[in-house]
Amino acid sequence: MEGSAIRNFCIIAHIDHGKSTLADRILERTGALSEREMTEQVLDHMDLERERGITIKLKAVRLEYRSSSGSEYVFNLIDTPGHVDFTYEVSRSLAACEGALLVVDATQGIEAQTLANAYMAIEHDLTLIPVINKIDLPSADPQRVKQELEDILGIDPSEALLISAKTGEGVSEVLEAIAERIPSPSGDSRLPTKALIFDSHFDVYRGTIAYIRVVDGAIRRGMKIRMMASGREFEVTEVGVFKPSMETVDSLVAGEVGFVAAGMRDVKDCQVGDTITDAHAPAESPLPGYRKVKPMVFCGLYPSENSDYEALRQALEKLQLNDSALWFVPETSAALGFGFRCGFLGLLHMEVVQERLEREYDLDIVTTAPSVPYQIERTDGQVEEVDNPAKWPNLAHVASIKEPFMRVSVITPKDYVGSVMDVFTDKRGTYKEMQYLNPQRVLITYVVPLSEILLDFFDLIKSRTRGYASVDYEFDSYKESDLVKLDVLLNERPVDALSCIVHRDKAQARGRALVNKLRKTIPRQLFDVPVQAAIGSRVIARETIKAKRKDVLAKCYGGDVTRKRKLLEKQKEGKKRMKQLGSIEVPQDAFMAVLRVDDEE
């Protein structure tokens, strides 16, 4: 393929601004799929993604396009994950492109992730094509959106294309603009090979399939390649492109996008962001930007039935094959038995994994409240990272404790500025800046501890702004905080899986809210059960779950025997789903109560 005819691009947008619909239209118009073959939104192919309207794993598709002037082009459309947890993956996809379609909803205007994505694309020197979508809606205001693009991102309003991905209006102009405005790739196929891995998936027969953008040189079947970060070497068994089904080609040369299979059996062999080079004629230095993905949110995952432990381990291993960001090690809880400590990129990533375990692997799991990794410096100077409240050290030997802080941006209508700032203050946020995007909308930035974001930050922002605000965040830094471990005791006995780390100033309120929540979540037992929150040996809050006094079927005569039996069976089923802590039955969602303590305030 002539490099000058290649256009590598991606589509970036805030959630629900129409990225996937536009991708569908582009696939249709370029004949990659007939309308009949088109299931809605082909690029998001996991059920879960479709249900949540987000794209978790990206994909790449090679399309053929003949422009209005009759020139032939090859378009490589690289889809990007649409959620803030996957920022690193997005950045690697962008690094594989020369241009990006920046899709903005004509009824909503610029939102937090529009900005975050646009800034990232500008950082990668991509050519931006602004696309204002949903112009068919009555409330569309493309003029206002053009103004925002100009004021906030410095984009010439005359460059904006007005389209409706739903009706197809303006999509032809988008295709022309891709051909005309996005530069062709600039790599040199005579230089030593450098190819960027921007995603991967696991295939049982072929091993890990790396999705690559060849920057310089070429990759051929039979060639010996080296992963520059890991140093591992493999022989290429297959090279190909996605059209969108996988098609084998002889080679991929500088500028091209496709896939490589090389008998890679371990996810660690093929890390997103790594550079592939020719083992016999290696490049001097890898492509910039590689980093090891680091989990920021941790929780315990336990099988409801102890006998499912092995099944849970196998399911996690399988998920990990396609998700190198998922981390897990075995752990044991006095309350919950054998399970795993799992690390995730963020809350959404965690929820997706939990749902897939339950849905695709049919596992019933108990999840403990998520925690963040704390950096603890001991008095002897040693620093360790603790991601599990159960492993919290004795403070006598601790010099300092640091927790991760995020830089959080919220875009909100100006009427809610006060409410948003209240939420930030309540969440221990530090004010950074405030900027009017236009007279109606404001961008507010704070630095906030990640542990506070895990609690109920998004729900609060949503409810206090009636859903009009959008949020984006990125890691800022580790900072010192005055943190303590809050223990929970049921019937005078500590329950390790309910412990959490809180700021000292908030311990009292959290402890009270937590025991109150547990009192409501844990059903009444046959005896009074005291619920206590304690810091060390000091009890800071106490509630009592009063004993159950009535649990009876008042009538049971000849006609009722079978029916009453069924009622008892149903009740027994409910009881079986509870975790038995000593003589107390605790429902599984009690372990998440730590997270939801603020629900009713």
């Binding site: 009538k555 000849g558 027994k572």
Partner: protein, 402 residues
């Protein structure tokens, strides 16, 4: 007094009411559009078919064939329930009673026929005339649904009668010669206070019927009352208050000379309901009429609930079965526990072992011992029973014995 095992009962279901009560989830229909005479004729025919073994599976049929010898499946108690049996024209109800007595007596050579015959009555459908006719036909026990002595709660329950109408019906029954009368009460009503309930109990005890049933209100899904409570039109009912009321009943009625012989039932000495005791002893019974259930050797079964379908089946000489459940010995033992534990006598484990095998019954020993530690269950020689406090938490026990 007639003692011994109550091996078989006859239940007849009359699925008609003047109107449905707000809390009721039993099978009953407004009586107006139905040909009740034809229904009663079908009932009589079904009793005959059932007792003669027509259409039963082999196992049941052979038991019935041998009945003249053993009498194992000859009903000794009968109970006409509903719905509201007394909504029927008295001649039709009389005919059903007479046929039941004749048919059961006929098959029971030397065994004495039915000795307890109960008819459920609704206060506003029991006149002195009807009461006398029933007495003459051979009915010797009347069960009157009072539910509350306060007209305010009777309205909430959707009952068609007032407290004074109940008193009139009660007097009618007494003057007709009934000396075994049961009165039903319900507690835990929306808004009901303990004082309200204690007055209900005291007034009823002062009437001194032979038998009193006290039911904790159950809000069954789909009933008008459940909807009113869930929508907030009526106040929620507190379990703690209902538990207090349960203990109020136990103390006030025992003070008045009643023994608490089943979770919801109280009787003067010797006046326990034999027919119901047979259910709780996991005994056999024939269920006659639409939606009626039977328990017979190796099976439990259920008649079709639809009246027209029921009549059609019986008139064509077919058993009107909707559903048959075959019982394993394991299931029989489990049923024997969950039913028997409802009563103050409890379960005789050695008798159970004799019937179903020591192995099956022995499997419960460990669970029962664990339950004993909770204080809900007590042992007394070979008998296992619920404690007074265990009765109102009985689901906790029975769940473990399924």
């Amino acid at each position: 007094m007639i003692g011994g095992p109550f091996s078989c009962g006859l239940y007849i279901h009359i699925p008609f009411c003047l109107r449905k009560c707000s809390y009721c989830d039993f099978v009953s229909y407004p009586v107006a559009p139905f040909d009740t005479a034809r229904y009663c004729a079908a009932v009589v025919k079904e009793i005959e078919m059932a007792l003669e073994g027509d259409g039963w599976p082999e196992e049941v049929a052979s038991c019935l064939a041998g009945a003249s010898g053993s009498g194992a499946l000859t009903p000794r108690t009968a109970y006409i329930g509903g719905g509201t049996p007394t909504v029927l024209p008295i001649s039709e109800l009389e005919a059903v009673v007479t046929a039941a007595i004749d048919l059961c007596g006929r098959g029971a050579a030397g065994s004495g026929g039915i000795f307890e015959f109960t008819v459920e009555a609704n206060p506003c459908t029991l006149s002195s005339y009807k009461a006398c006719k029933l007495r003459d036909a051979g009915v010797n026990r009347i069960s009157l649904g009072l539910q509350s002595t306060s007209d305010q709660y009777l309205t909430i329950l959707g009952r068609a009668h007032s407290y004074s109408e109940f008193l009139a019906a009660y007097r009618s029954a007494v003057s007709a010669g009934f000396s075994n009368i049961s009165v039903d009460l319900i507690y835990g009503l929306p808004g009901q206070t303990r004082e309200d309930w204690r007055r209900d109990l005291q007034r009823t005890a002062d009437l001194a019927p032979q038998h009193i049933s006290c039911y904790a209100l159950t809000l069954a899904d789909g009933t008008a009352l459940a909807r009113s409570v869930h929508s907030g039109q009526l106040p929620q009912i507190s379990d703690d208050l209902a538990a207090d009321m349960y203990f109020d009943a136990a103390s006030i009625l025992s003070e008045a000379g009643y023994s608490h012989y089943e979770i919801s039932n109280y009787a003067k000495p010797g006046m326990e309901c034999r027919h119901n005791q047979n259910y709780w002893e996991n005994g056999y019974y024939f269920g006659i009429g639409a939606a009626a259930h039977s328990h017979l050797p190796g099976m439990r079964c259920e008649n079709v609930p639809d009246v027209a379908q029921y009549i059609e089946c019986v008139e064509q000489g077919r058993r009107p079965l909707a559903n048959v459940e075959w019982l394993t010995p394991e299931r029989e033992v489990s049923d024997a526990f969950i039913l028997g534990l409802r009563t103050s006598r409890g379960v005789d484990t050695s008798a159970l072992a004799k019937t179903y095998g020591a192995g099956l019954v022995g499997e419960y020993a460990e669970r029962l011992e664990k339950l004993r530690e909770t204080g809900l269950v007590e042992f007394d020689g070979q008998r296992v029973r619920l404690t007074e406090g265990g009765m109102i938490l009985s689901n906790r026990v029975m769940m473990e014995l399924l």
